[in-house]
């Protein structure tokens, strides 16, 4: 090709489509005449090209047959692979009962959900209820166990700390708490200020009774009667963490623990005590 030639054969096609020979620029004419014999051939080619472009789409138009599409779609569906997990889930069950092949995946999903709710999720009502019942059962069992035990066990010391911990860790109703306190016998040697306060509340009559008993048997521990006393006292008291009944080993010790508030009754008691001796 010449160096100064600007046009390509494609350009010739473009010229033929858009310009008549008379409309060409001089350089375009030079280019055209290099490839064609003359203006007549240019005009002839131009008309052929225009006619072909106009009519070639209209000629020989046929439509694809509909059955070809059906056959191809069926073949495509046949070629489609089935997911492996679907085969596994539906395989045996679907083989036996194809109309219920959906049941297995649904059943598995339901079992997983129920198991999660029951075993793992502590926030569900079922889990909370189970937890509460379990705690309540535990306490009741413990109480029954302690009741069934021998009297010897009644003298066992139950530290206040253990009681408070047990009470704090479990959500027990106030009535249960009081019942527990009543059933338990707490013997505390160190009853100093608290025991003094407790003793002050007792009536003169109760103290006199205790004193008499103590005189009769100095070693016998305070038992049933004390329980009754506690019950009477706790009925009037809303909260009691610690209940201590002084274990009076002698009337003298008991007398020393009498509250000064009941001075008159105390003095009578004292005098009665020593008179009995």
């Amino acid at each position: 090709m010449e160096k100064d030639q600007k046009y390509d054969p494609e350009d010739l096609e473009s010229l033929l489509m858009h310009k008549r020979f008379e409309e060409l620029y001089p350089e375009e004419k030079d280019f055209v005449l290099r490839h064609l014999e003359g203006p007549e051939e240019y005009s002839s080619m131009r008309q052929t090209l225009l006619f072909v472009q106009k009519n070639i789409h209209d000629e020989g138009g046929i439509q694809p047959r509909p059955e070809i599409k059906s056959a191809l779609m069926a073949k495509f569906e046949k070629e489609k692979p089935v997911a492996a997990w679907r085969i596994w889930l539906n395989g045996l069950f679907a083989f036996r009962m194809p109309q219920l092949r959906w049941a297995m995946p649904v059943g598995i999903a339901a079992a997983v959900l129920f198991g999660w709710m029951y075993f793992f999720d502590a926030e569900t009502p079922i889990a909370k209820m189970a937890e509460r019942n379990t705690s309540k059962d535990k306490i009741e069992k413990q109480l029954r166990k302690e009741e069934a035990q021998s009297p010897k066990a009644e003298n066992e010391e139950l530290l206040p700390a253990e009681v408070s911990e047990e009470l704090e860790s479990e959500d027990i109703a106030e009535s249960d708490l009081n019942a527990k306190i009543v059933d338990l016998e707490v013997i505390n040697d160190d009853f100093e200020s608290e025991s003094m306060a407790e003793v002050e509340t007792l009536s003169d009559e109760i103290y006199f009774d205790l004193a008499e008993k103590e005189v009769a048997s100095s070693t016998r521990p305070v038992a049933a009667k004390d329980s009754e006393l506690l019950k009477t006292r706790t009925a009037n008291s809303a909260e009691m963490d610690d209940i201590s009944i002084p274990e009076a080993t002698s009337g003298q010790a008991l007398a020393s623990n009498v509250s000064r508030k009941n001075a008159s009754s105390e003095s009578d008691l004292f005098s009665l005590f020593f008179t009995a001796h």
Binding site: D8, P9, E10, L12, E13, L16, H35, E41, S44, M45, Q47, T48, L49, L50, F51, V52, Q53, K54, N55, I56, H57, D58, E59, G60, G61, I62, Q63, P64, R65, I68, K69, A71, L72, M73, K75, F76, E77, E79, K80, P81
Partner: protein, 204 residues
């Protein structure tokens, strides 16, 4: 089948990605887009044999179903699809060439094949038919190039990719094909003049 609007809006390459994942809706859209074009391409390339054109169209889409992974989604689908169709036609020409050695003349065996005697018995009212006959006389390379350009309205670049040649080669082939057709159709000069006059009036 009612197709979602999203499928109809997708490009050919996107649909082919779905076809590779065995999406039947995507395949159906591809079929609807290209079945008409391909059956007419085969019809023109295979000597206006409608039965053969339908069979070739069916075989072409069967290849798509069996081996969709052969298409590289990064490339142009239309170009690739026409390349496959073009190769099918080339194979058929080779077969016909073998047959012509046995039977003596391709022109005698293939229905609709133009012969020189057909050109002689010109029907002025069947200019289009004569154009087809003239195209059939061309070698398959020129014929393919010409039909892709003017029947399928492909660009020079697309034709060069399909036929695996340079763009300059495509341009040359188009020019000389047009020249040959022009010479072949000179027999219709009288009709052409009449038509051209009417045509030029319409253009002006």
């Amino acid at each position: 089948m009612i197709l979602g609007r999203s499928y109809l809006d997708k490009e050919d390459e996107e649909l082919m990605k779905l076809v590779q994942r065995k999406d039947s809706k995507a395949f159906e859209v591809i079929y609807d887009r290209y079945s008409g074009r391909m059956v007419n391409y085969f019809y023109k390339m295979l000597w206006q044999d409608e039965e053969k054109a339908q069979d070739f169209m069916h075989d072409l889409f069967t290849k798509l179903i069996e081996k969709p992974q052969h298409f590289d989604v990064r490339k142009n689908f239309k170009t690739w699809f026409f390349s496959v169709a073009h190769n099918m036609c080339k194979n058929e020409y080779r077969k016909q060439g073998v047959r012509s050695e046995v039977h003596g003349s391709v022109e005698k065996d293939i229905p609709g094949q133009s012969g020189k005697e057909t050109l002689k018995a010109i029907d002025e009212s069947n200019f289009n038919q004569e154009l087809q006959l003239a195209l059939n006389e061309l070698d398959e390379v020129k014929k393919t190039t010409f039909l892709m350009r003017y029947n399928d309205e492909m660009s020079i670049k697309e034709i060069s990719e399909i036929m695996e040649c340079s763009e300059g080669t495509v341009k040359s082939r188009l020019f000389y094909t047009l020249k040959i057709l022009n010479q072949r159709l000179k027999a219709f000069d009288g009709l052409i003049v009449w038509i051209l006059i009417a045509f030029s009036k319409l253009l002006n």
